[in-house]
Symmetry: D2
Subunit: 337 residues, 4 copies
């Protein structure tokens, strides 16, 4: 326990304050030394309430603290490049929440800075730390289902975010499907080409901002495997995340539909509840992800999810979005293709 | 196919006409030669509608037909002894629907007649021919769960039968629980003692006829294993039959809750239907049971369920009913105890 | 019961003899009057074994029987056009098993002959008669899930058919996916364009015949809804058919994974079996489909599935197969588009 | 947040150190001020590792601290009476882990001291704070299933505890079944009489200490409802806790069988894991229970589970154990009966 690392959290929005709380309560090897948020008073209030020694409005000031070993970058996506490049320049170990950045240019600039600074950088894709997804990865690596040949994944939110949020979200595929795209690469390897169809089928107001509420994207992997992802903002019955990997010797199905372990049986049928939203589904995965980051930094292990993983997921999601606009399959041009 | 057997069906009530229809349509090795029913016109109408060569009002006349090899006894329970004894006297192979008879005296008289006549006799307990129960038996015989040590079974009807029916049913434990009792013996062996609790908890009108609507019976097996059966006439949500056998190396759970393979997911939860009633649950088991009887007779194999099986199940159900009246555990005195 | 119709079955292969048996045993309103099969002796043997009055080698002879009201066309797909056109010319009511025909030209010729003859014609897509699919259709028509916006369907065979069969099957999408395509139209309406990806991922020998073993096809419906179908010949764990329809107010999931109602719980986990193959899954649907055909003919009701339904399903499957070859989305040109 | 209460934890065994950790991390309204444990060094080490201000070997010294408002009694059962009586004398709010005490005399003495001191006392039965059980209670109180008429509960441990533990455990029914007994009272009211059967069926070595490894207990409630509990030390497949409450209008089923949201489908069937042990199943319930205790104390609310609840549960479990020895139903004599 002597090897605690000192962490700073940059950005105290919904996810940022959650991460800060996890650090305080669930990650004994970490010490939350500082928090920053551009909104006046937010960092100070959080720090006072939780006995965090330091607080800042400007992330630059937080990054200037020598004692801080590591930072969690949970500020708005549009700031990620600036923050990460600066943190890399100062030699901090970095955890960066998804989405990594708004454009390939920006995330490639981040990648360059990380390489230059030879700093530790881990991308945040919490699903990889969910017990179900992690167990599936284990089964695949053991060869339980043979060679993966079809990847299927479904991500449904129970309602749409605000239009304000959506306007800067990068669109349904990048904002929501990127999790499935990361899983696709993790389970099946690099993606060669993508094709998407989509529509405004549930919320007509999305037409005003040029986004869609439902989409289907197919993936062709470099090794020939096939993939398909369906995404929805209108899974009104609950938060529904399910993935299947069909291999030559069997298939794996990840996900579940019931939150509370209670079945109600009455004359009109059997009923149970659904999973309300992402924190009920992935709360433990967020903690496990932070725990993993802290352990990797502390023990000098490589990052579980690299900057390149973030770059490739974004590249694929942008190609899938382009396919939507152009109505044709789009090749994914990465270095390996 | 040349070895078809000629069958007569005695009793064309709900189950009798069902059996007759199964013989006509689903059991190619059987030829339905005659039907009888004490109600004027019932047998004649059935026979004419279905091209059955002969029909009778009196079962004696059906039994008098030399061509008939085998009979299904599906007449009211109170007549079983008379019919079976006479059928045994004439050397017919006999299939007898449960309940075998209203009293130990009568079923022991049947047993005696069968022994005397050296005739083939098979009791009807259709659950043994259900795919789930049959597969469970196979697993146990293979040793998959080690030695069975706890037997649990639940039988719930979705509504109560008519008071007219219930008055001559022998009471909840004998009428409904006898299926579970037969399974208990099949899976775990002979029963040494029983204890029951019960109540009129759903249908106050049952007080007028001295029956109960819900009961729990515990079983102690000769080999030390434990058992418990709960029975209900008020499973208002559907027909619910579930059994579990806990062994030293694992457990088996038999049964299911959903009839139609459809899940409905809406804002207020996930819903599916239930199993409506016994024909939806055990229709295929009834056919398999008849098929098995016909094959056993045709091929000279021993009965799958013997007269002794019927006698013992009744003995246990009567002891369990006595326990209810006397408020104490009751020993089951069979020849082996 | 007096209005029995006289039926002839043309083709006594696997499915043909099954249909003939269903007619004999499970459809009381039908009388199986004749069977035909081009293989010497097949029809005669079947007829003698089952007391079918007439048998033929040539379907023309069967169609020449005046007494025959209706025919089931279950001969090889390549013969469908000839048989149907001739049957239509003779005024028979026709049930035609899928696939309707090998090419759009042939099925449009069938359609023309049916219109000319004003005969009753019903296509065979048995899934529509499965309890789960039928109940889903009912829910959709009641508005339970609002407007359907995403259709997902998965069809997996547990092993590949013989290469001989596959060579004349029309390819994976037409042979296997056409069921899902028919469901897509039934639930969501006409299809505007399709896109497919596929591969030889499990059985390299398929390369020799130009077919694939796994495919994913996306569908864009005329009303804007989205669809995706994945098909596999290598669902080695069992016969797995599942469909989901997401609507604006909820979602429906059709299908199941367990055949026998038995759970085995041991130290290494909980286990149950899978659905072996299509007869276990859809046996009752085949019977219900025949029953429906016979009732429609007897009662003068319109066909449940029309010739146009068969034509459109084939048109879509051919477009999806073309997309595979050309690597681009393909518009589906039907009269309504 | 200003109203934090100061808590002392007495006993740092498996459950005690767990509670202490929960207080430190998950209950912001509580301040862990002191810990005690009779084993030399245990309290000191824990306190130093976790920045707990005070530590003691003797619980008397902890209770002597004026600043401490509340104590968690998690020391061995045999010490509960002494600790609780002394804590009550000093006016502390008390949380007492189950089992409350080894004999009715001792727990009634505790009850007396609590009444005398007018102190807050809450019994620990964590299942009431499980999401599934809590939701079931809500449904019952809303009248969703009408009047509860049959209570069924099953508690299975995946292996037997050490013989050392078992020797002082009070026997299977008191040690393990008391949770189900508490639920029975919570859902269905007071118990009038009990009957038990049991055996040494999995671990012959239990004969040396006079305990059993499997048991079934029936309950008759004062209002006529029926109950049955089956308990096992040999649920070798996993930790399996399931409860059902049948009411006049429906039934509720609480519990689940799968820990990780992953299904593995292969040629030999569908498989998933099981729940390993009680912390995986009830970890969140333990936290919620502590949270509830702290809130009740802080806000001046009455205890969620009273001393009388603990006394009655023990009374029933002792009667059920007596029934086992005497082979007869035993009346439960509480003040209301």
């Amino acid at each position: 326990m002597q090897n605690k690392i000192n962490i700073g959290v940059i950005g105290l929005g919904r996810l940022g304050s959650l991460y800060a709380n996890y650090l305080l309560r669930s990650i004994p090897q970490a010490r939350l030394l500082a928090v920053s948020d551009v909104k006046e008073g937010v960092a100070e209030t959080f720090a006072r309430d939780n006995n965090v020694p330091k607080w800042f409005i400007r992330h630059q000031d937080l990054l200037g603290e020598k004692e801080i070993d590591s930072v969690l970058v949970v500020s708005p996506t549009s700031t990620h490049k600036e923050v990460v490049v600066e943190a890399a320049g100062r030699g901090k170990a970095i955890f960066c929440e998804k989405p990594q950045g708004p454009s390939l240019e920006e995330v490639e600039a981040m990648s360059h800075a990380i390489d230059q600074g030879s700093v530790f950088f881990q991308m945040g894709f919490m699903r990889r730390f969910d017990k179900g997804y992690a167990a599936a990865k284990g089964k695949i690596d053991e060869g339980i289902i043979g060679t993966p040949i079809v990847f299927k994944s479904s991500s449904r939110d129970p309602f749409r975010p605000s239009l304000e949020y959506l306007e800067h979200s990068g669109g349904l595929i990048t904002d929501c499907g990127i999790h499935d795209i990361d899983l696709a690469r993790w389970f099946c390897g690099e993606v060669r080409s993508v094709f998407s169809i989509a529509g405004v089928l549930a919320y007509p107001e999305l037409n005003t901002i040029g986004d869609v509420d439902n989409a289907v994207t197919t993936l062709q992997f470099g090794n020939g495997a096939l993939g398909v992802i369906d995404m929805s903002r209108s899974g009104v019955y609950g938060y529904d995340i399910r993935t299947e990997i069909l291999g030559t010797k069997g298939t794996l199905q990840i996900g579940y539909l019931r939150e509370t372990p209670l079945l109600v049986l009455k004359e009109d049928g059997v009923t149970h509840d659904t999973v309300p939203y992402f924190m009920e589904r992935f709360g433990q995965a967020y903690v496990a992800q932070l725990q993993n980051f802290v352990e990797n930094v502390t023990l000098g292990r490589p990052p579980a999810i690299t900057c390149a993983d973030g770059v490739e997921a974004l590249r694929i999601s942008l190609a899938a979005t382009l396919s939507l606009r152009e109505g044709r399959p789009v090749a994914v041009r990465n270095k390996k293709n």
